[in-house]
Symmetry: D2
């Protein structure tokens, strides 16, 4: 009833939804952004079906508040994620689309079975 | 490159990942569980592609700490979610599987196009 | 080394810091704001030392994104909280101060001991 | 109506409540714990009134689930925090007390004003 490509797409959605709501709101500044990027990547990479994850946070949006720091906002995320399930693989992104932090399923494909087997 | 069923599966994953990491950790007790269930459902239902969402929190796991309340834990969730994209529809669940709060893609299907059009 | 007034102030800080980071990012709209306000209040009221909590979310800041909803942002909060520890009581608020969601300790006082005892 | 010691205690509470609810639920393992500790410390240190923060996560509680990782739980935290406001300073901790992640205000003191001024 469900293909491996659909499962890989589902897993990609879980990871993007989870990382967004886990990390949004964390205090951040340009000086601490890289530490946070690595912490998010390493945390996401622990989860099942993740083949690759790359997180970049837009420092230009980190305008300091009255106390000199910002909070991690959805629009700051630029994430590329690859999930794999069996022979299926999906690529998904979280990135700014005008004023919305858009999660997109970019592509799904499947490695062909070996014809000799 | 991506089918509507895959997109609907991706959207289902986003919603389950998001709700889990948004709400886990919230103070809860059997007396407040229903208010929290409705707040989660109404919040999830605002998001794109959600056709139906049902949230039940397992009160038997809400054993009071020294101060008489619990925190919402992953294992307490029993969620059923239906997403729809175009003619494709997916059903997904978040529910306890032994000691793990498992997110599952249960089914995806597609309404056939009307043959008369 | 620590007075009851200081402990009551500490408890007030815990509750405001916790509620902010627990709930920020949740999908919300003017139609669901009241359900969310009640869920937050009931959740906070479970925690130790809370005597009173009132949460109002600013609907005028809930401008719909491309998909017709908003996310709970720090600036939307208007919270009044009273904590009590022994005979000490503190009032604290979370409310918008220009472009910053400010947490303030408004007052602390102590009921005098009964002179007859 | 409020002393600097009370304000420093309030600020300490805010930081502990915030860090708890911001980070609980994040996927973690013994191999990624140190990265997460540093990310939390750097994030907390950005906030006002923080003089010192030290975060240790208890690896012995990170028992792997069916997929080989854990989630950051309240009981894993061992945090020591010092806040300062004017001449007042408070020390607070978040650490395990039996089965409860307890936040404690350990001490508050005030540097005497310089008698020559």
């Amino acid at each position: 009833m469900v293909t491996d490509r659909e499962r890989a797409a589902f897993e990609a959605g879980i990871k993007l939804g989870a990382l967004y709501h886990q990390w949004v709101g964390a205090p951040v500044s340009p000086a601490t952004a890289e530490t946070l990027e690595r912490a998010i990547e390493r945390s996401v990479a622990l989860q099942p079906a993740v083949e690759k994850v790359k997180v970049s946070l837009d420092r230009t949006l980190m305008s300091p508040n009255a106390f000199g720091y910002s909070e991690l906002a959805g629009l700051m995320f630029d994430v590329e994620l690859v999930t794999r399930l069996g022979r299926a693989r999906c690529t998904a992104t979280l990135s700014r689309s005008e004023d919305y932090p858009l999660m997109s399923l970019v592509s799904c494909d499947e490695t062909p079975a070996d014809p000799h087997h």
